[in-house]
Each structure stands twice: as C-alpha cells, then as structure tokens.
C-alpha cells in the first residue's frame, strides 16, 4: 500500500483574512509602533544613555489618508539577515531574539498582520547602520498565490539617509480607507490612543508625529496627601511591589485620580455624557500600556467582594507596571492590548489590585453625600505621577506579604467621616420649578444642581439654629 500524505500546507488566506479579524485597526497601528520602540531599545543596548529619557532622539512619523498609510522611523532598521530569515515570515520560530531586552514582540506577527489589516499591497524599505538598504514589495498577486512563499528582497544601497524603516501600505481595504480618510474621526481616536498607550514611552523621550502633529503623552496621576503627618493616614494610594526570582518586577498603585464626584458629575455620567474615562485600571508591560482605564472583571471589578464599576467610582484609578527582559513571561495577549487573565503572575497581582480597590470603593461609599467635609478633603491633595508616588511611598511603612508570591505592600489609612457624629444622608423631592426658584434666590442662577440647592438651604438654617 502506498503511503499517502495529508496536506498541512498553510493557505495565505488564513493569515490575511483570519488573523486580521482578531485585531482592530488602531491596535494594528500600535503594533507597528511597538516594533519601532523595540528597535529603539535594541539600538540602546550596551550604550549608557539617559536613564530618564532612554528613547530620546527616536521618532516615528505616521501619515495616512484614504489612499495610503505610511510609517517611517529612525529606530535602527531591519538587519538584512533578519529580513531574509524571518522578518517577513508568518510567525517567529525562535522566541528568544532579544534575551536581555524588555521588548514586547514575541510572536513575530505584528508587522504582517498590520499590513494585511490595512491593505493588499505594501512596500517595506529598511536600512541599518551596517547593512546596505533593501526594499521588499508585497503585491496583491503574491497574496493570492499559495505556492509562492518567497518575497524578493531588492538591494537598494541608498534606500534611506539614516538607519530606519519605512512601511507603506496601499490598495487599502474599503472599511480601512474610510477610517483613514478620517470620515468618522479615526484620526483623533488614534491620537488619543497613542497618547494613552504610549504615554509612558513618550514621557521617556520617544516622539510620535501623527499626520504632522506631535502627540503629547497622557499618564495616570493620582492624588497624594503630602501633609499626612504620621505618613500613613490621609488620601494616599495603596501600593504593592514584587520582584520574582526570574526577574519579573511588579509595581502597583491605586487611589483617586480626581476628587470624589459631585452629585452633578455623577448625574452627567449616568445620562451618558462624554466624560473622560480615566477611571479604572491601566496595566503597563515593559513601558507599553496594554490595558487602559479598564473597569471590567478582568481587572477585578465586580468579583471577590469588590463592587462592579458604577458611576460613583469615577474617581478611582490604578496602575500596574510589569517589567521583564523576557516578554514571554508578561501576562499579555498576542495583540499586546489585553491581559492573559489565566496567568498565575497576574492572578496573584490581581488579589492586591482588588485589595487596594476595595479600600477605595469603601472610602467612596463612606463619603458619599458628605459634601461639606468632602470639600476639606480636596484642598490638601496634589496630583502626582505614578513613578513619583512609588518614590514618595518608598520611605513609608511597607509590610511583607507572606502568602501567594510574596512581595511587600503599603496600605494607607484613609480618612473616615467622624465616627462619634456620623454623616447621614437626607433625601427629599420637590418640583423642578420650585428648585429652580430657590436656586435663583440663593445662587442667582437657576441651574445649580438640586443637591447643592438642598444643602445650601440646610446650611442656612443650621447657621441660624446654631446661633
């Protein structure tokens, strides 16, 4: 009997159509930026650059319209041997390209997936310091031919005037062309995403120029009560730190990023007004934000005693920073914009995320409605970046965590409304026209929030009663 073989040969359609469904355009573009940053990191290897601004001098220029997308960088370029062996392969065999660098690329799929997500033709031009430049062209014919898995690399000695890469994608897909032509305001969406997801990297010196405009970083800042005399009591973020034997470090802080919401702010959030959603958890892996302002079970909301996210918690924010020279050990998904919820490391950290968050949801609940004293809480605090908070907390009283993976934590004592004279909430309803009338009388405008009008009425009578 002759032995027959079953064909396990891959079809390009699989990569081009299936993999691209797993990723949104915005994430695909961020993937390309990840490659630029990984490149910058490789350039820095072995050099003693600025520790605070390690990415200074490295820039990515992104330009697009309804016809084409171009990303240009000066982050070192793709070495010729790498281009020949696997930069254009669908997936990387060897996961250990950079054993000593905290990059995020693991699977070698980002560039290809991003290109096919956007269009059906592309040109990749690259040049390094030592190799001569080259150009690789991918066209739509190649994409439909399952027997041809080779792409010609054309030498081009003067392809670029400095080491770097240019990726140009054309023959854009219909939906993508519409997004890139800015018919639906994608430009701003992307700018905001870069500000948030690359906030930490831009802060460290990297520059992103989006359609000619420099993108400014946005970072999570938390309130910190500098006056806290005994160093433990006051509005101080909860902290947790951990370094594993295999070199993964974790830093976690959670607290308030803005003062507790007023009644009016809560109302606005309830009717779906467009508030800036910075509340929730931001998770950073090797400087890349992989999850931004998350308010779901993934980050511990609504499980194990922590309430589900609700508009009254719009002031709570937390950040977890993971670092490792082996990106495979970080709890991230292949799209690099999500968390692997089953990772043991992450599950361990999540317990501390929940503990810190519970501290602050309880705090919010206790102070709900206590508006006068709430005002006195506001004035004493200042917003600080996460890094400076970790510094500021370092001389305080950290306790050792014995269970789980270990580590140390800082648990602040948050101010509580006075126990001997607890706060009670008063609730009553009056006609809208009557509230407007009293508001006009008290505040000379008829639009003050009902709660404030009621509180002012009470305070006025209280003043008289206490005389």
């Amino acid at each position: 009997m002759t032995k027959k073989t079953a064909s396990a040969f891959p079809a390009k359609r699989f990569f081009v159509e299936m993999l691209t469904r797993d990723i949104e355009l915005q994430d695909a573009i961020l993937d390309l930026l990840d490659n630029c940053v990984d490149g910058a990191m490789r350039q820095n290897k072995g050099k003693s650059g600025s520790k605070k601004h390690p990415y200074k001098g490295f820039t990515a220029w992104i330009d697009f319209d309804g016809n084409s997308f171009t990303l240009k960088d000066n982050c070192g370029g793709i070495p010729r041997s790498l281009a020949e062996d696997y930069a254009f392969r669908m997936g990387r065999q060897d996961a250990n390209r950079d054993p000593e660098l905290p990059t995020v690329g693991v699977y070698g799929i980002g560039m290809k997936r991003a290109i096919f997500k956007m269009g059906r033709a592309a040109t990749v031009t690259s040049q390094t310091e030592t190799d001569e430049g080259f150009v690789v062209e991918i066209d739509s014919n190649w994409l439909t031919d399952d027997n041809n898995w080779n792409l010609p690399i054309e030498a081009s000695p003067d392809a670029l005037d400095r080491p770097g890469t240019i990726i140009e994608v054309t023959e854009l897909m219909d939906g993508i062309s519409r997004l890139l032509s800015n018919d639906t305001d994608f430009h701003k969406e992307l700018e905001k995403a870069i500000s948030a997801y690359y906030g930490y990297i831009i802060e460290k010196g990297f520059t992103v120029i989006l359609n000619g405009k420099k993108v400014a970083p946005v970072q999570v800042e938390l309130l910190f009560d500098n006056d806290s005399s005994d160093k433990k009591e006051g509005i101080i973020p909860y902290g947790y730190k951990f370094v594993s034997d295999d070199g993964i470090s974790v830093e976690l802080v959670v607290g308030l990023y803005k003062s507790l919401p007023t009644e009016a702010e809560e109302q606005e959030a309830l009717v779906g007004s467009p508030t800036t959603e910075r509340a929730g958890w931001t998770i950073v892996c090797n400087d890349r934000v992989v999850l931004y302002a998350d308010k779901s079970r993934v980050t511990g909301w609504g499980e194990a005693g922590v309430p589900s996210y609700h508009t009254q918690f719009i002031s709570i924010a937390g950040v977890v920073i993971f670092r490792s020279n082996d990106p495979g050990k970080l709890p991230i998904t292949t799209t690099k914009r999500g968390i692997d919820g089953n990772s043991e490391l992450y599950l361990n950290v999540k317990e501390h995320m929940r503990e810190g968050m519970k501290l602050y949801t309880d705090f919010t609940n206790k102070w709900k409605g206590a508006s006068t004293e709430q005002n006195s809480l506001k004035s004493k605090t200042a917003a600080s970046s996460v890094e400076s908070i970790i510094d500021m907390l370092s001389d305080r009283n950290w306790s050792k965590v014995s269970k789980g993976m270990g580590g140390t934590k800082f648990k602040p004592t948050l101010p509580t409304p006075k126990e001997d004279d607890p706060i009670k909430q008063i609730r009553f309803s009056r006609k809208k026209s009557q509230i407007a009338l009293v508001s006009e009388y008290l505040f000379e405008n008829s639009t003050t929030a009902a709660g404030e009008v009621g509180a002012q009425c009470f305070d006025d009578v209280l003043r008289k009663a206490s005389k």
């Binding site: 219909d174 939906g175 519409r178 800015n182 018919d183 639906t184 305001d185 701003k188 700018e191 905001k192 870069i194 500000s195 948030a196 993108v215 400014a216 946005v218 702010e265 606005e268 009717v271 779906g272 007004s273 467009p274 508030t275 800036t276 959603e277 004035s379 639009t447």
Partner: protein, 322 residues
Amino acid sequence: MSAGGSIPYHLRQNKAIERNLFVDLLMRVGRYTNISDYTYIGFGGPFLEDFKHLHSSLRISNMVSLEIEEDVFYRQTFNQPISCVSLRHENSKDFIFAHDFSEPSIVWLDYATPEIGQQLTETQRLVEKLGHGDIFKITVNANPQSLGARDGVPLHEYRASVATSRLGDYGPANIDEDDVLPKNYPGLLLSALVSASRQGLKGNPGHVLQPLTAFIYGDGQQMLTFTAIILKTEELETFEQRTRLSHWKFSCLDGKNVKSISVPSFSLKERIHVESLLPEKDAEAIIDNLGYLIGDKKSAKELMRNFVEYYRLYPWYSRIVV
C-alpha cells in the same frame, strides 16, 4: 430655550446677520438639491422668527418647532406667524430619539445653555439618524466663562480641566490652558462638534460629513454656530461643482477655521456715514475718520474689519415705534 428668553430675539443684530447667512447658504445648497422640499426642524422661540424667514425666502413649508418651556409654547401658539409650523412641546433629545427623519431635513439645534457635553452627545445621535442631503446646524455657547472657576486653582488650568472632562471623547487628546482662552475656545468647540458629527457617521458607510460654515458672533454671550451637510461620498464633487461654495467667502469647508461675523453696534447716523466711505476706505481709515472706537479697545478694530468686508450682506436693523 432658557437664556434666549432674556434678550428680545428680533433685536439680536449679530444673530440676525448669522441667520441671513444661513438663508444665503441654503440658497447655494439649493443649486444642488431642492431646498423647498425639505422639512425644517428648529427651536423657534416665542416669535418663530427663523421659521417665517425660511418660509418666505426659501418656500420651505414643512416645519417643526420644538419648545420645552410651557409658557413660551403657549406664546408660540398665539404668535404663530404662518400656519405650516407644527408646534411641539417637546425637548430635542426626545424628539431626535422618536423621529425617523424620513423626509429630507434641515435641523437647527440652537442651544442657549452651556451644557456642552450633552449637546455633543445629542449632535452625534442626530447625525446617526440623518442621511444623504440632510443639513444640520448646531449653535452652542462659546464663552469660556461657562467653564466656571474654583478658588485656589489658577483660572485657565481649572477651565482646561473642566473642558477636558466636558468634551470627553469628542475633545482632543490634550486640552491646555491656551485652548480655553476666549479667542481659542470656539475653535476647540468646533473641533469637538466636528468630531461628534463624524462619530455619528460610523454606522453609515459611504457617507461623509461636509462642513459648510462655522461662525462666532455675540450679542452678549459669545456663540459658535456650525453647519454641515451629510453627503454620499460619490456626490461630494457634484455638490462642490454645483454649489460653488469654495468661492463663497463665508464658507468653512474644512471644518477648521471659525469666522467672526460680529459687527459694531452702529447708530443709524454712524452706519450711513460709514457706508458712505465704502468700499474705498479700510477699517483703520474709517476709525480715523470717525475719531473714536465703537466697542471696547480690544475688539473694535476687528468688528469694523468684519463690517468693511461684509457690509453689503448686512441687513438694516432699526427700532420702529408702532
């Protein structure tokens, strides 16, 4: 709606000018599509002035007026100047939710209150319901004072933070202290309005937003008004060719540059005198000729320049005693 009740509507000179420009714009759009067949939906106020104007100049005869104040609604039924206006005692939010916009529509949401967050959300929801050829116009309060102030926090820093939270998803990634200065705030709001409108088109493939005009004017409060049309992508070129709006100096087709159209509040004698110097003299020469400024030092020159540029289009407004 609210603040509009305090200044007699027909005496707001700059608003009247803006309204004339709106009619002018619709006439130009009329070269592309039959504007008389459109349904006009707006906030008429106690006198339904706009309705009368649009009916007489463009023969629009399907009209819907929305009003939330009960007394103003009764005044409308008393004042109703033409019979083809359907008066509704309803707010715009509920109306947009319920109405299906099956007829070609011109919608003017002329907001007087400063709740910009809700107004942007409403703009997005409106655009979600509009189709090819529909025109909408949004007027919002563009006075940065509406962002408020807080003791102990530097004014512009505070206003930038309030603007960041109010504009939310519609605002740019970063709003800094310059953006909330009176001269820049209208531009910030315009970008948010354009953003809200474009986001409203997400579920409507093959359609684009074509901004038409963006003006600031003030009769007391600084207001921004933005007008745009929804078009099928393949119709853009025909629209441009027929309307020739790129040759009209009041247009704002890129949705970026706001034009100020406020003019000085002249006395009758002043206006006749100034017009007698035009078109030969420029704003500086006219101010020299008068020997004094009309309006405060900061804005008088700009107001005069606006008048010099557009005087032929400005209507005469004067008081008559009956």
